[in-house]
Subunit: 368 residues, 2 copies
């Protein structure tokens, strides 16, 4: 299976390499990042995107920065660490995974505050690799759990935006089951909505699936209904930006309409996302703030003026899909089913978490 | 009311002028067409589009061509007429209105076969002006009938693609009621879906409404569901490419999904179209052939590569909205209501047609 990576160590480990997502699908260009400042710029410029991928990439860059700073005196080394961490955190202030990954590395450094810079650097590097490995494992668990929901035989599924390998350090969230099905030789075809305004579906999802040899068909966003009516879709699977305690899901604008269409056509609608996406402190979808995007993404998104230059635009980044339209929520911790309040509470109760961590999922092929 | 025109006579009547729709919204450029061949090219290049507008423009160009050929001998004049008619018909072979308009002019010429070329030219010119006037009247009747369905107070409506002034010789079909409401000082706001892949919504509908001073808000196609959930839409109104005897409607891809969303949110869904769109010989929507478009309209529509260059694309031009999802069908002949089979049959029965033609609709303002 040739699933593209979003971020990797350079062969000589002297750089973190990012697959420049702003150049896809026109060009497959890897850029070498040599310090935290360069990574912060790359994150701000969306050369790497997707909450899990950003967290992994930031951790790797911070580890690299410190590994090159071990000749500094301890106090200077510590100052370097703090400056680099601050630079990375500021790159996308609302990206929870980014701050979370940086904080984990700083905590490791804190735990070895009296050790030599070389030791601290090694410990931080190890933690960055752990974050990366955990992310891969998270993707695989989501994929295995979602695959268990697929019907027998060839599966034709529809997805929105990019919740794939490019958004994570592994094989994706919503697309993870697709890659596992393809690896097992099960027939699968993915219909991808292009996902206006930023076209993550056509630019990224269609690209990464094609690259991995998975059959793909691209459609404009509004062709989804006709595709369902034609009987061409067995299930819908999408990612999530945030999942509320009652099972409401905030995800890329267009997700909610797709869920309404799936319900109308009697097609299962699955949401697959990292457990970090589940926020039990958010009661319902109504409590999730919805970011508004720059109107020019709609008015002149292709480098051309495609609308009257000053026309009013309503451009929410996300919408909220009510739990009632969702067949199941698939996380690395397990699958939640309606009623979601109870199901999510059970999955994410503290003792349930401990139990889940003690017993790794075993994949059909025997992999942990 | 400053509703843009799609086609007009030049001030000195020495040319037919087209508002070049391929340059909108970047530039408002009128091009002068001086003969049938130039009009055929303009139609082929989509500088004028929309079935009614194409019919009107072709008729005007044919009339102009003949008015400049009256010094020819009768046989040569007749040959010129036939060549020009053939050139125009071939410009878009599937456009029924185009052939219908050209045929009407040829029939008038046939009826005056023994008259001098100057007389034939005048008769043909008169018929072209009649086609144009009828088109304007058709738009106004549709608008008045649709306006009768609007609720009291400020109306916020959602539309798809372009069924406006630019698509006709008048004030449009789906948008006609909007212009009439605006003219009467009733509050109205139109939410426009950009309508991928060719963006007729953002390029044309948003432009013509803005130009006429009607409040417009542009959205990406997939934001419609969230907009409805927010309670921001009172009704949906769209055009039609073909209406079957049972009330099923073929229209721009995306229309069907919009109808499903409207039904889910309890929002009325209206289709407004010329009576020429109603095809009682087509039993249901399943009998309407759906044209597939060039995949590159999705893969590289704006001069940029927005998808893997060879990725499979499903690109239907239209979809079919089942009659069950449609609140009412508004035509210049009258408003059809469910059950549509009986309602359309009654409206389009031969004696009903004759009655409708004998008693013109009187507008609120007293205009016929």
């Amino acid at each position: 299976m040739n699933v593209p990576e979003s971020v990797r160590w350079a062969a000589d480990a002297r750089a973190v390499e990012l697959l420049d997502q702003t150049r896809l699908p026109e060009e497959e260009r890897w850029i070498a990042i040599r310090d935290a400042a360069a990574m912060a710029t790359a994150i701000r410029e969306m050369r790497v995107r997707g909450a899990p991928a950003i967290g992994v990439a930031a951790a790797m860059a911070l580890a690299l920065e410190l590994a090159y700073a071990t000749s500094l005196a301890p106090a200077e080394f510590r100052a370097r660490l703090e400056a680099a961490a601050a630079t990375l955190r500021a790159a996308r202030p609302t990206a929870v995974n980014l701050a979370w990954a940086v904080d984990r590395l700083v905590a490791v450094a804190d735990a070895h505050r009296d050790a030599a810079p070389g030791v601290v650097a090694c410990k931080v590097w190890g933690e960055a690799d752990r974050i990366r490995a955990e992310d891969r494992e998270m993707c695989r668990r989501i994929g295995e759990r979602a695959l268990g929901l697929f019907p027998a035989g060839v599966v034709r599924l529809l997805t929105h935006c990019n919740a794939g390998a490019l958004a994570t350090g592994g094989i994706g969230t919503a697309l993870a089951a697709v890659y596992l099905a393809h690896e097992q030789g099960r027939g699968v075809r993915v219909y991808v909505r292009e996902t206006r305004p930023l076209l993550q579906g056509s630019r990224l999802t269609a690209w990464e699936l094609s690259r991995a040899g998975v059959p793909v068909t691209l459609i404009v966003d509004s062709a989804a209904a006709a595709l369902m009516a034609a009987g061409s879709i067995d299930l819908v699977i999408v990612g999530a930006d945030r999942i509320a305690a009652n099972g409401d899901v905030a995800n890329k604008v267009g997700t909610y309409g797709l869920a309404v269409l799936a319900a109308h056509h009697g097609i299962p609608f699955y949401v697959a996302a990292p457990s970090s996406t589940v926020d039990l402190a958010t009661r319902t979808g109504a409590d999730i703030p919805i970011e508004e995007r720059d109107p020019d993404e709609v008015r002149r998104g292709f480098g051309r003026v495609t609308a009257p230059p000053t026309v009013d635009v309503w451009a929410p980044a996300f919408d909220v899909t009510p739990a009632a339209l969702i067949t199941a929520l698939v996380t690395d911790r397990g699958v939640a089913r309606p009623p979601y309040g109870a199901s999510l509470a059970a999955l994410f109760a503290k003792d349930a978490l401990a139990a889940a961590e003690a017993s790794p999922v075993v994949a059909p092929g025997g992999r942990a």
